[in-house]
């Protein structure tokens, strides 16, 4: 007995939406960023699941690249958060609204 593809996809969708909620509701930039990582992980799960059920390696390769990109984004993102913290002593995005209107 196999777990159907849709089970993986539902889980993926659930995690993705969790990530979305995290981004949309949290004020801590770090947590927002982690929520984004959660979204990426959710997508990766979809890729791997599709890959398995299509018998196609492309999905897994894709996941590899996504991870690479996620790493790069994380490095840059954390550097930016660091820079902000140095200037403003906060990572609360609600306090970061010099730019508006």
């Amino acid at each position: 007995m196999h777990v159907p593809l849709s089970a993986y996809l539902f889980l993926s969708a659930y995690l993705f939406v969790l990530g979305v909620i995290g981004v949309a509701t949290r004020r801590n930039a770090l947590i927002i960023f982690m929520s984004v990582e959660l979204m990426l992980n959710a997508v990766n799960l979809s890729f791997v699941a599709f890959s398995r059920f299509l018998d196609s390696m492309d999905g897994q390769i894709f996941v590899f690249f996504v991870m690479a990109v996620a790493t790069a984004e994380a490095a840059v993102g954390l550097a930016i958060i660091l820079a902000i913290y140095r200037n403003r002593e906060t990572v609360d995005v609600a306090e970061l609204n010099l730019l508006k209107w």
Binding site: M39, L40, V43, S46, V69, E73, N87, R88
Partner: protein, 485 residues
């Protein structure tokens, strides 16, 4: 392992190697050079960009598919690359004085600009969603960094963070969309997707459609289409001015190139769906961009909103899904590059020390005190507003022609009415420049040579595209031919 350099299609990758090599060279040279030498790094980069342009012109007109469809060097790639290189070259020209003045790291700055350009070329030159995604990320990550380059300025930090958070968020959707497309068709290669669609072997049409929708969201974010535009004004305002110029023209160009690849080559079968979605986005973007731009007091922010509106116009062309529409996008991108970078160039030319002239009010009296700069700015403004005989007008003419041709009359009408609204705020700049009592502190010094060259090029382009647009349009039409199969 059958990995061999001999199989590498050198002709196809030469421009990329040149460009990437320039970036690396700049990075490597930066620490070993004296400060004076470092000042010349942007110039070196410019040389690299020009060389790349030359390589594009000599290597790429011959279409070839390299790396199993990961890179296609057809006319479209070549033309788009030239646009991106133009953006990069103009940006480098207007940056030279700026980075010296603001004390930015020359090497890193230039290298990142070049890598971003590389990313754009990859986006335009790829038939595979993987490469498109990677190109996009190359571009985006470079821009995240560049946006925060003034790292001791809170605004720059904030711009970078907002861009990064939202950009990564949007990337998530884009990726999810790719996953769906992959799941529905079993491939991420656009040509394959198209074939699968044509043969009716889609596993799940609904999944594909939703995947496409998510892709649209991802790209719409990059072009700053309403309602995915919210990052744009803030980021454009906060980022260093030269970077903003680069972003406004470059990101838009790259995203539309990829958009065209995706929609015209990969998903023409779904035109009904995507054109309807984009129809709404186009109207929202044009209207909101133009309307909100009116209330702005900062010129950078105003141009940011205007860029949203311009994205709307370009979306109109995209909606048509026609040859003329696609060609008009390319034409418009060139025109937009010229007028927009020109406007930013004027902005930079007026900066006094570290003090940039950001408030529109600061432009009062400029036109008559600095006649040449003023005239150039007025030209760019009129062009942005789409008043003939400028590039902006011709661009709009083609876009709205494409719209009318495909019976999108409502889009065309809303579009042209929007250009009237836009004229209002572009005119305000000219009003201040020419019709208001002058601000006393407009510097009378000469414009730096590099900047002057950039301005001259931009102005010339704006005029030429408006007066003798024929050959440009022909080229654009030839360029989009590969898209239509």
């Amino acid at each position: 392992m059958d990995i061999s350099l001999a199989q590498t299609p050198w002709g196809a990758v030469l421009p990329l190697i040149l460009l990437g090599g320039t970036g690396l060279l700049v990075l490597v040279l930066d620490p070993v050079l004296s400060p004076e030498g470092r000042d010349r790094l942007p110039a070196l980069s410019l040389v690299g960009v020009l060389a790349t342009g030359g390589a594009v012109l000599s290597c790429w007109p011959r279409p070839q598919v390299a790396f199993g469809g990961m890179l296609v060097t057809d006319q479209f790639t070549a033309s788009c690359s030239l646009i991106f290189l133009l953006v990069a070259a103009l940006t480098l020209l207007i940056s030279m004085g700026y980075i010296r003045r603001t004390g930015l790291e020359h090497g890193e700055y230039s290298a990142l600009l070049i890598f971003a350009t590389l990313g754009m070329i990859v986006m335009a030159g790829s038939l595979d969603l993987i490469t498109i995604f990677l190109g996009l990320e190359t571009l985006s990550i470079s821009l995240y960094i560049l946006a925060g380059f003034l790292r001791e300025q809170a605004r720059s930090n904030e711009a970078a963070l907002k861009y990064l958070l939202l950009g990564a968020f949007a990337s998530g959707f884009l990726l999810y969309g790719i996953a769906f497309v992959y799941g529905a068709t079993g491939s991420t290669n656009l040509v394959r997707v198209r074939e699968v669609l044509a043969l009716g072997r889609v596993h799940s049409p609904l999944l594909l459609t939703i995947g496409m929708g998510l892709l649209l969201v991802g790209f719409a974010f990059k072009v700053a289409a309403v309602p995915f535009h919210m990052w744009a004004p803030d980021v454009y305002e906060g980022a260093p001015t030269t970077v903003t110029a680069f972003m406004i023209a470059g990101t838009k160009a790259a995203a539309f190139a990829a958009f065209l690849r995706l929609l015209m080559m990969g998903l023409p079968a779904l035109q009904l769906e995507w054109s309807r979605v984009l129809w709404v986005l186009a109207i929202l973007s044009m209207t909101l961009g133009n309307v909100v731009a009116i209330a702005q007091t900062q010129i950078k922010r105003m141009l940011a909103y205007s860029s949203i509106a311009h994205a709307g116009y370009l979306l109109v062309a995209l909606v048509t899904g026609s040859k003329l529409g696609s060609a008009s996008i390319l034409f418009y991108l060139v025109a937009y590059t010229c007028m927009n970078l020109g406007a930013f160039g004027v902005m930079l030319a007026l900066a006094k020390g570290n003090q940039e002239r950001l408030a529109i009010q600061d432009y009062a009296g400029l036109g008559l005190r600095r006649p040449v700069l003023g005239a150039a700015m007025a030209l760019f403004m009129f062009s942005l507003a789409g008043v003939p005989p400028t590039a902006g007008f011709m661009g709009k003419l083609y876009i709205f022609s494409a719209a009318v041709q495909t019976h999108q009359i409502a889009l065309a009408v809303i579009g042209v009415l929007n250009s009237v609204v836009s004229a209002f705020y572009y005119l305000r700049v000219t009003v201040l420049m020419y019709m208001s009592p002058g601000a006393p502190d407009i510097p009378a010094e000469r414009t730096a040579p590099a900047l002057a060259v950039a301005l001259a090029l931009a102005a010339l382009g704006t005029l030429l595209l408006g007066l003798v647009p024929s050959s440009f349009l022909e080229a654009a039409l030839r360029s989009v031919a590969p898209l239509l199969g």
